[in-house]
């Protein structure tokens, strides 16, 4: 906001006005939700206890925040050191993504002061949801520690602590990969408990593997997509190191995403075949499944492959948001559209205006905080004082 303010001499830019309206509406709904309960702002019911606050804010948020572990793993574990400059933006996106997942969870769960209870007070160790909560709690801490050096460099005077965190980079990266593997797959495993509620085309014992695999190419696509947007709006903040490897990173991630998407497609077919679900393809839900798989996995995968093969960056940048939309569609299908598919349409769930406003509110907070941080802290460039020991 501050940049636009300085540039245009006014606070009332189109971006700020839209963001302000969403924030104001979000605050009103927030007050309603916490004073009058879930029923006052949502269409949730006993049949549909999880709506878009889970399907979008949590499932999509966690999947799309996977860029943090994929990028840091590529750089520090797989040795793509030249992509070092892309790690901080990816870590920041992941950190904000997970922080907002936890923030948004409060709307669904209520009583925010009780959020730490499952971790510190009463652990439900037999529940997959407990494992998800524990992993997200620890991984959010890991991401915060990975992000901290940038904040320390910005404020100055924390060299000792910064140095300790930089030395821990490899350990934190390994922790991040392990924790992500656990909870990304567990989010899929949550739905293993509802074989009669989830449509057979989406229900498969391989759901955990599918959620994990799709999080990998979701993360890679998100880094490409976020990088493209950042390049457009924060180009003046980027240093030579970032710009020099920017295209290489996008092509490398396109190759990785194309290959993982091919594997994901094979898993989808495996799920269909092992449970003999082929006949469902000739129903309305089958057409929707084909739209998701062909329209948002096969085609963007081909786009990535051709983009990488021909070094056509336009195709890669087209495939990235396409894949992101595909991941969102998949999470919506599993958690909402194909969920409770046998209920009569009058009892099916559709989000209320209040739920949509809160989801927009959460995304807007994320964009504003991202903007606040990257315009002030060394995210797209190495801080001059720490150039040789950059994290």
């Amino acid at each position: 906001m501050s940049t636009e303010h300085t540039k245009n001499g006014s606070l009332f830019t189109p971006f700020n006005i839209v963001a302000g309206i969403i924030l104001a509406a979000g605050l009103v709904v927030t007050v309603m939700r916490f004073t009058m309960g879930l029923g006052s702002v949502t269409n949730l019911s006993d049949n549909n206890p999880w709506g878009i606050w889970i399907g979008f804010d949590l499932l999509c948020g966690v999947a799309l925040a996977a860029g943090g572990y994929t990028t840091s793993a590529a750089c520090y574990i797989f040795g793509f050191k030249r992509f070092h400059a892309a790690v901080r933006p990816a870590i920041l996106t992941a950190f904000l993504g997970y922080a907002l997942v936890v923030f948004a969870l409060n709307y669904d769960v209520g009583r925010p002061w009780r959020l730490p209870y499952p971790i510190f007070y009463q652990q439900g160790t037999t529940s997959i949801l407990f494992e998800v909560g524990l992993c997200v709690f620890i991984y959010l801490t890991v991401l915060f520690l990975e992000y901290l050096p940038a904040a320390f460099e910005w404020k100055g005077g924390f060299d000792k602590y910064r140095s300790i965190l930089v030395k821990l980079t490899m350990v934190l990266t390994i922790f991040g990969v392990i924790l992500s593997t656990l909870h990304q797959s567990s989010l899929g495993a949550l739905y293993l408990i509802v074989p009669s509620k989830l449509h057979p085309l989406w229900y498969t014992p391989y759901l955990p593997v599918m959620f994990f695999m799709s999080s990998m190419f979701a993360g890679l696509s998100m880094v490409v997509f976020e990088g493209t947007l950042s390049h457009k709006y924060f180009h003046h903040k980027m240093d030579e190191d970032y710009n020099a490897n920017y295209l290489d990173l996008q092509f490398a991630f396109a190759k990785g995403a194309a290959w993982i998407m091919a594997g994901y497609l094979a898993m989808k077919l495996l799920g269909l075949s092992m449970d003999n679900r082929w006949h469902y393809l000739f129903t309305g839900y089958g057409a929707w499944w084909l739209l998701e798989v062909v329209g948002f996995v096969v085609l963007p995968c081909y786009c990535y492959a051709v983009g990488y093969r021909d070094r056509n960056i336009g195709l890669v940048r087209l495939a990235a948001p396409w894949t992101v939309i595909g991941i969102m569609l998949n999470r919506f299908d599993v958690s909402l559209i194909a969920f409770n598919w046998q209920l009569p349409s009058a009892e099916r769930y559709f989000p209320s205006l209040g739920e949509i406003i809160i989801s927009l509110f959460v995304v807007t907070i994320g964009v504003l905080v991202f903007k606040f941080i990257v315009t002030r802290m060394p995210i797209f460039y190495a801080h001059p004082a720490y150039k040789d020991s950059s994290h």
């Binding site: 094979a266 075949s273 093969r309």
Partner: protein, 44 residues
């Protein structure tokens, strides 16, 4: 169509084994397509 679980599993697994064989062959083709011009680029 299927009288026993054995019949169903035999049917499903037979199709799956063939399908996965085809998928593995397709993977090779896809990898060759994906990396077919890497010699010229030599970036990764």
């Amino acid at each position: 169509m299927f009288n026993t679980l054995q019949d169903l599993m035999l049917h499903n697994k037979s199709i799956t084994y063939v399908l996965m064989g085809v998928v593995l062959v397709c993977f090779i083709g896809f990898w060759r397509f994906l990396t077919g011009r890497e010699e010229r680029n030599r970036r990764y």
